[in-house]
């Protein structure tokens, strides 16, 4: 395949802009042309669920904003000014971030008409670094899902590796856009795996930074104690570059830690010699509740994923890493139940503000009184996934249940955190599959809220512990769907994780089939 401009790595775009080999406008137009070729129309309220066999990664395109940014970058270059770390790099912003003057929908009817008067801190920083905000990527409604099928904006994104499969979620549009060359980078969010799982499903790199590493200001909240904005990219170095542009304390986020930001790129080619990388049986023994009886069943990993895990360990060992087997993390098996409780309590509260009074959807016609206005606006504006989270949150945080469920879940979180603290006394990072399976079929799980949640089984422990984790593409399964492996490290060790990820990554040599169909192999 002859690499097109829209498929260039972000770091190469920046380098070639600086040598005068490329302009931001050329990069932007190439990317818009790719969108035109493969997108097949973005998601819309009341859109056709079946779509036009395209990628359908976006909800809103922001060509005018991106063009103005591209011109500014080119002017800076001409004037000899520093155009920034991400000069001329097209970025798809998950539509959970507020961007001033553009619709910020969260994939929900209740915010479909909301135009934010302010811009989220990570987006402010990306744009200040010269990035081009090319559009808002589709997502599960309010990020509630692992397949992107719950968005109110249809058609929902397709997996570029197979139109019949989901791209994962909730940052599904982001992953699909990056994989299909519709953006070089995407800003995603990860609450229980929403960056890493779609990255794994779409064959790209996705990183959940340490909680508090990247400001959450302007990210429409899901579970505030778990939410992490983070980079999605086609390679590890680009992910590091993007993180570098966004990370750091923020006066608008009281939980954004005052930890100095390291140079994520200077040692990225340094290799893994002497590093200790752990494997845990607790990331291979998978406990699912049976859909009919609710009884817990133990399942094994999809064989190709098991195989990819061992190959990844070998690959790291060959480069001089010490693989430490049998690291116990017994509490991670409670990750999903604890997450069911914590995330629902926080989500229900975070969704209180959508009431038809201040912004967003307001029910049609006269409401008899204030509470009817609330009920109708929320009943009509929210899809079933937000409603489920609200109701469960109401249930488990009720005064009579709070200790039984919520407080207990927060203490289970302590157990998970302690497991990782103990593990990191022995190893520098843990290696595990990102997902129990490769991408599932569209409609295969959607509607079964429990099974959908268990898609995050392997990713959610890092969210509970707050630690950074990066998903790396490591090949394809037998049906040609991407497999991802994740590395999890101690707090604020993003630099080392990126370096390990660089040693592990196996970049795809071919375009995803859906892209091939449209633009050739």
């Amino acid at each position: 395949m002859s690499a097109e401009i829209c498929e260039l790595p972000a770091h190469e775009i920046v380098a070639r802009l600086r040598t005068g080999d490329l302009t931001a406008e050329v990069v932007l137009e190439a990317t818009l042309a790719r969108i035109e070729a493969v997108e097949g129309g973005g998601g819309a309220l009341n859109g056709d669920p079946n779509g036009a066999n395209g990628i359908h990664a976006y909800i809103t395109l922001a060509e005018e904003r991106a063009r103005a940014q591209a011109r500014a970058v080119d002017r800076a270059l001409e004037a000899g000014d520093n155009p920034g770390l991400l000069a001329g790099v097209p970025v798809a912003v998950k539509d959970i971030f507020c961007v001033s003057g553009i619709a910020s929908t969260a994939g929900s009817k209740i915010l479909a008409n909301f135009v934010s008067p302010y811009t989220a801190t990570p987006v402010v920083r990306l744009e200040a670094a010269g990035a081009l905000t090319i559009g808002k990527a589709n997502l599960d409604e309010f990020t509630y899902g692992s397949s992107n099928e719950s968005s109110a904006f249809l058609p929902t994104p397709r997996n570029p590796w197979s139109a019949g499969h989901v791209p994962g979620g909730s940052s599904g549009g982001s992953a699909a856009a990056v994989a299909a060359g519709e953006a070089a980078l995407s800003l995603g969010t990860d609450t229980s795996g929403s960056i890493r799982q779609p990255a794994a499903f779409c064959g790209i790199v996705g990183m959940k930074p340490t909680y508090g590493r990247v400001s959450r200001y302007g990210m429409i909240a899901f579970a505030s104690s778990l939410d992490c904005p983070g980079p999605m990219a086609r390679n590890v170095k680009d992910a590091g570059l993007m993180l570098l542009a966004m990370a750091g304390a923020d006066a608008f986020d009281a939980t954004a830690a005052k930890v100095p930001v390291e140079d994520y790129l200077d040692q990225i080619e340094g290799g893994v010699r002497g590093m200790r990388i752990g494997l845990s049986p607790d990331f291979s023994r998978l406990r699912y509740p049976d859909a009919d009886t609710g009884e817990l069943r133990e399942q094994v990993l999809q064989p190709e994923i098991e195989k990819a895990l061992l190959e990844s360990a070998e690959r790291l060992a060959e480069q001089g890493a010490e693989i430490v087997e049998g690291v116990d993390l017994p509490a991670v098996q409670y990750g999903i139940p604890a997450y069911f409780v914590i995330s629902r309590v926080e989500a229900a509260s975070n969704l209180h503000r959508y009431d038809g009074v201040k912004y967003g959807y307001r029910s049609e016609g006269e409401a008899a009184d204030l509470f009817e206005l609330y009920r109708k606006s929320r009943g009509q504006g929210f899809g079933s996934q937000p409603k489920l989270r609200i109701l469960m949150g109401m249930y488990v945080s009720g005064e009579q249940y709070e200790k039984r469920y919520y407080e207990r879940a927060l203490r289970v979180r302590t157990l998970i955190r302690r497991d990782f603290e103990r593990a990191f006394e022995r190893v520098d990072a843990m290696l595990a599959p990102t997902t129990p399976t490769t991408a599932f079929e569209i409609g295969g799980i959607y509607g079964d809220s429990v099974a959908m949640q268990y898609a995050d089984l392997l990713t959610v422990p890092a969210n509970h512990a707050g630690i950074p984790a990066i998903s790396i593409p490591t090949g394809l399964d037998d049906s040609g769907l991407p497999i991802g492996m994740q590395l999890m490290g101690p707090d604020f060790t993003e630099r080392r994780l990126l370096r390990m990820g660089r040693a592990l990554e196996q970049l795809q040599e071919s375009r995803p089939p859906l892209v091939q169909e449209r633009v050739g192999a």
Binding site: S104, S116, Y118, F252, S349, H352, D355, Y359, S397, E399
Partner: protein, 479 residues
């Protein structure tokens, strides 16, 4: 018929006088500002926003907690979300504190007119954000978010008050203390000090607490007294008539002076509190608490007793002089500069200085008249250098000029005339000009001496020493 007593507890909301709101940089001052102007994405709860805590809120709340003798100030206190739907609450939850508030277990000794005091327990003090304001119009509610996010301390007392009058007295003391500490302007009409009252009644001698009602939205001390009094009377009527008190929430309509019952649906409470994940705990180190305690000024009630003990001034004087911190500082500095009888200083401050303060609508410390200058004026009057009338006029002149009292007296020739020859000359002149009065005096109307002294004062522009003038007049008239 048994005798009833009222049992009242208060939940006060105190607006801290910070410049910016508790979680954003919007101004807290929205008095007479058009609706929805001092607002931003944060205080209107737009999607994606986060709170960022104002440092001064913590500091001022801590000052209040120490002044209220809170013996347990948490080293780490937590914010919590109080979730409920209401249109003046833009996020659908209020950021407040719940299970681990800033401070618990305080107390306040409320002086009563009988000379004893009522021990008021302060159950807890916590920090929270204010909600918006609702205006009713036709069948609509109009919402103004200017007040959203204004910092409040909620202070909850025990059920320790026994009358509406005690409640009013407490609020007066609280207002005094808040202004004294310079942490709140405590203007009830501007909503800077608000009070909900829990009211129940019981037979005298009983220990148990009966069902209480809660009165909300009262915006002046008089209204609190009236609302509580009217609710006590209503409960007594109800119980005497064999009725039952129900746990209602009552809304005080200050325009019409009546209580109305809020619809139960509106007051249904299931707040589902949980820790606010967007904020870290407030860290209050023991050393920070110790520093606050050591920097705490002498409090008004303590100063009041000290004034009457140390300076020997009447209780009444001490009360007035400690109503406001700046005045009490002024008094004390004047006593020190004067060095003489504190009661005389008190008289000057309570009569003349207070009048000037009211005329100028200012504080004693900003009046322009320094304690040393007042002491000098009092000293000159006491020494007979100037008359007390001139002394009083000097207050205003010193206040509004850069000259010292002594300079003014000298340059404007205001010194009292007690020189006998000068006075005799004037007196002779007056007697000559008023033969009728002289005749009357000599005819036995000796009371006219006052009139003659008055003429002398008029003639000398108030500078004559009245005592000396009288003696000279008498000797001339009787000679």
């Amino acid at each position: 018929m048994p005798e009833f007593e009222a049992i009242i507890g208060l939940e006060t909301h105190i607006q801290l006088n910070t410049d910016s709101k508790i979680f954003c940089a919007c101004s807290t001052d929205s008095w007479r500002v058009p609706p929805n102007t001092h607002i931003c994405p944060i205080c209107t709860g737009l999607p994606g926003v986060l709170p960022s805590l104002n440092e001064q809120v913590v500091e001022k709340a801590l000052i209040l907690a120490t002044a209220m003798n809170a013996d347990e100030i948490s080293q780490a206190s937590f914010f919590a979300r109080k979730n409920y739907f209401y249109p003046d609450l833009p996020k659908g939850y209020q950021i407040s504190q719940y299970d681990e508030p800033l401070a618990v277990n305080g107390s306040f000794e409320l002086p009563l007119p009988e000379g004893n005091s009522r021990h008021i327990t302060i159950i807890k003090l916590h920090i929270e954000e204010d909600a918006g304001k609702t205006v009713y119009k036709d069948a609509k509610r109009l919402i103004d978010f200017n007040r959203c996010g204004v910092p409040l301390v909620e202070m909850v007392t025990g059920p320790d008050f026994r009358s509406a009058d005690e409640v009013a007295k407490f609020l007066i003391r609280l207002r005094q203390l808040l202004r004294w500490l310079e942490i709140s302007d405590a203007d009830m009409e501007r909503g800077q000090l608000r009070c909900d009252a829990n009211v129940s009644i019981r037979n005298v001698g009983e220990d148990r607490l009966n069902t209480k009602t809660e009165i909300k939205n009262v915006n002046s001390i008089t209204n609190v007294r009236d609302a509580v009094q009217s609710e006590i009377e209503r409960q007594m009527r109800e119980v005497k008539a064999g009725g039952e008190i129900k746990a209602w929430t009552l809304d005080w309509d200050d325009q019409r002076g009546v209580l109305s019952k809020m619809r139960s649906k509106e007051t249904e409470a299931d707040y589902r509190y949980f820790r606010e994940p967007d904020l870290l705990p407030i860290q209050t180190s023991p050393s920070a608490v110790a520093a606050t305690v050591s920097q705490l000024p002498e409090l008004p009630l303590a100063r009041r007793s000290r004034f009457s003990e140390v300076y020997g001034i009447p209780e009444y004087d001490a009360e007035i002089l400690t109503e406001e911190r700046s005045l009490s500082d002024f008094f004390e500095a004047t006593v020190a500069a004067h060095g003489g009888n504190p009661k005389r200083v008190s008289n000057w401050v309570m009569n003349d200085v207070l009048r000037l303060i009211r005329e100028q609508d200012t504080l004693a410390g900003e009046l322009g008249l320094r304690p040393g200058e007042l002491a000098e004026i009092i000293g000159m009057v006491e020494a007979g250098t100037i008359s007390s009338g001139v002394g009083k006029e000097l207050l205003e002149q010193v206040r509004s000029s850069d000259r010292t009292p002594a300079q003014i007296v000298e340059e404007d020739g205001l010194a009292q005339v007690s020189d006998a020859s000068e006075l005799s000359e004037t007196a002779a002149h007056i007697l000559e000009a008023n033969p009728d009065q002289v005749a009357a005096y000599k005819g036995g109307k000796t009371g006219l001496i006052g009139w003659f002294v008055g003429q002398m004062m008029q003639e000398t522009g108030g500078q004559a020493d009245p005592k000396a003038a009288r003696e000279i007049l008498e000797s001339l008239l009787e000679g």
